[in-house]
């Protein structure tokens, strides 16, 4: 019986995350795979991340790709500095994190606002639509105002078909226009994690 209960828990969590696996586009590919391909088409070669379920496919694809550097961080602010260094060397990077990581980046984003380093961030949201963990709300609800206070432009994607056009817009705003842009992958898109 114990095992059956564990199975039920796993199944419930799986179902609650089914937003991850929704297909989009004519090819029937997962939108996460299309997103990885888009980033690579724009010559993004440094993938910095703090592990997060919402970015699992991007992280795994970057780890398996011999043409990119995948950088596991101990805290998200390391990634902001990493992307600045990549830019000094003429390379493009992306920072993948959960919404809670936005708070860890704030002072380091001085590099973006003061140094005008291009900065692309993808955030999987918590503390938002349908969240069941009260610890996630303080930072989740503060993501947009604190990033904006540091000069970061914030875009949101709420449906699978919105993700790639939004990230493609962000890629242009970052690497052509020299901005810092965060794309929020919302809980409407990803689904809320069950507890």
């Amino acid at each position: 019986m114990r095992f059956a209960n564990i199975g039920a828990t796993v199944r419930r969590k799986w179902l609650s995350w089914n937003g991850f696996w929704r297909m989009s586009g004519e090819s029937g590919q997962r939108w996460q795979d299309q997103l990885y391909d888009l980033l690579r088409r724009y010559n993004v070669t440094q993938f910095a991340y703090v592990p997060d379920a919402g970015h699992r496919i991007l992280i795994d694809r970057s780890l398996a790709d011999p043409d990119v550097r995948s950088v596991a961080l101990t805290t998200e602010e390391e990634g902001v500095a990493l992307l600045a260094g990549a830019d000094l060397g003429g390379a493009r990077g992306v920072l993948l994190m959960q919404s809670s990581g936005a708070g860890n980046c704030i002072n380091m984003l001085s590099l973006a606002k003061g140094g005008r380093f291009p900065m692309l961030m993808l955030l999987s949201m918590r503390g938002d639509f349908g969240e069941g963990n009260p610890w996630q709300f303080p930072m989740g609800q503060a993501v947009e105002p604190v990033l904006q206070a540091m000069g970061v432009i914030v875009l949101r994607a709420e449906k699978p078909e919105e993700v790639n056009p939004t990230v493609e817009a962000a890629l242009t705003m970052v690497f052509q226009s020299g901005n810092a842009v965060a794309v929020l992958l919302t809980q409407k898109l990803l689904g809320a994690k069950a507890f």
Binding site: T74, A81, A84, G85, G89, G90, A91, N107, M108, G114
Partner: protein
């Protein structure tokens, strides 16, 4: 030129703990030909060391904020340019702010990255308060524990040549702690505009494209 100790610094305690080298001489000796490196510095002291050494040249990126970021900027640059040797020159306070970066760097272990910590055991820019390295914290041991395999602590003149070799050679990331006296760093006027310095660095390295 004799070292200039700021008022209020306990020189006797610093000497007793092995913080004796003059950074104005030890840093240039350790680095040697600065043109061989792309250099990222921390704030204040090391920014002044490297600016004076290179006359604020275009192959350096100095900081005056974003404390804790120097080592990771160096990592991003080293990964982007495996054909160049990257030197991060930073202070004890700056590296202490983000020691997790040493773990991140050790995991990747790029051979073209060297980290030089000029450790004076103090926060010189904010009134010469003692830093953790004056109070028992050993940055080389933190680097070793993080997984960086090529490490040294240099505290005497006779050790400088060995430190210089470690910074320039080897098949993995190097980490050198240079223990120096809590005395004034060199003085040299530098550009404080982070965006202008970014463009200067990129134009020199990449051209205008």
């Amino acid at each position: 030129m004799p070292m200039r100790y700021p008022q209020g610094v306990d020189v006797a305690a610093a000497v007793a703990a092995g913080f004796v080298l003059d950074r104005c001489e030890a840093v240039p000796t350790l680095i040697g030909r600065a043109e061989d490196f792309l250099i990222v510095t921390g704030l204040a002291g090391t920014a002044r060391d490297i600016t004076a050494l290179t006359h604020d040249s275009a192959q350096i990126y100095t900081m005056a904020g974003a404390m804790g970021g120097a080592a990771m900027i160096g990592l991003g640059l080293a990964l982007a340019r495996p054909d160049k040797r990257v030197l991060v020159a930073t202070g004890d306070g700056e590296i202490l702010m983000n020691v997790g970066a040493l773990a991140t760097i050790a995991v990747l272990n790029p051979a073209n990255l060297s980290i030089l910590v000029v450790d004076n055991g103090h926060y010189g820019e904010t009134g010469w308060q003692k830093s953790h390295t004056s109070l028992g914290v050993d940055l080389e041991k933190i680097a070793i524990g993080s997984g960086i395999q090529r490490t040294r602590t240099i505290a005497q003149e006779a050790e400088l040549a060995e430190g210089a070799r470690v910074l320039r050679e080897g098949n993995g990331t190097a980490f050198v702690v240079l223990r120096v006296a809590p005395a004034e760093p060199p003085s040299f006027k530098r550009n404080f505009d982070p965006a202008a310095c970014r463009l200067r660095f990129r134009n020199a390295l990449l051209g205008n494209g």
